[in-house]
Symmetry: D3
């Protein structure tokens, strides 16, 4: 019953379904392989955050992207 929450910026229309599947599969395997946790009850929630709502270094990711960062 581990719980994993992944927060990433939503860019270029957001993650594809395949990318989401890889994250869920990968995080579930990580918990199973590292700690022996039961995959059947492992919950993974992916939050895609608008670049205007995500800040790093005191500025919005939107602004960092404009500078190519």
């Amino acid at each position: 019953m581990p719980y994993v929450n992944i927060k990433v910026t939503k860019e270029n229309g957001g993650l594809t379904k395949e990318e989401k599947e890889s994250l869920v599969k990968g995080a579930t395997s990580l918990l199973q392989e590292t700690l022996g946790k039961n995959p059947a009850s492992t919950v993974v929630i992916i939050d895609e955050i608008d670049t205007d709502n995500y800040g790093l270094g005191g500025e919005l990711i939107t602004e960092r992207r404009k500078r190519g960062q």
Copy 2:
């Protein structure tokens, strides 16, 4: 001032306003009855998560729903 966060999948157009009111009312009562917490300052936040962004058992809820789970 307790804080309650409820995360559920967003299905069939999402929760109705009545369902949200029941969740807020129910969670606030639970804290009051169990711990004597003041309802006036109890905060409840409901996050409705797309079934593509919610994983259980290493797969997306979207896929589980297709199999009738």
Copy 3:
């Protein structure tokens, strides 16, 4: 597979095991009765927060408690 997180201040030695059981049982029932969610996969996590780490109204709960609030 709903996920519920309850944050309360840790006071007088913290919640008893019975109080925690009531919170888990109550939150799980709430999700089942309101939304028909499967109790078997409902996760509830209780965070007990030191009153020095919990603020309301711009001050620590520790200070509010001293004034009888």
Copy 4:
């Protein structure tokens, strides 16, 4: 590498980009000035929550707003 999460209700179309920039800048400065934390690795995430999904005092913010609260 501090992490700050700010949750506010989404009202009147949501926060402006300027408001978001002020929140990110302000939270990052707060961590730097209070604790000497490196602004370059300070992450700030802003969640704008629908007033139907945010409860206080056992009712939805939507209802409180109707009464002018």
Copy 5:
């Protein structure tokens, strides 16, 4: 700058430092390989939760463990 939060129960004295390193390394690689995210700014926070504070199926993990689950 992705953010990953992993919540697991604290059992048998808690995770070892090696297990924590594996979780941090594994989650960071997952984000890099799946989404091309920069590992340098990927934050991973591990919360170890007392089995008395973690509920599944309407009961505390503490009770489930007693039954060998």
Copy 6:
């Protein structure tokens, strides 16, 4: 009723009460000045995370500190 969560590493015995008060006061003021939010219902929760449970760049903060980072 905004909610602010601040996560920082727990170092050198953890934050002092004065530092916690500054964070709570500062975050509450930020929300009031930027968005006109009512300080009376603003909640701030500070999580102090062990450096063994906080990862950046694929490694534990504990290891980064050993290298003077």
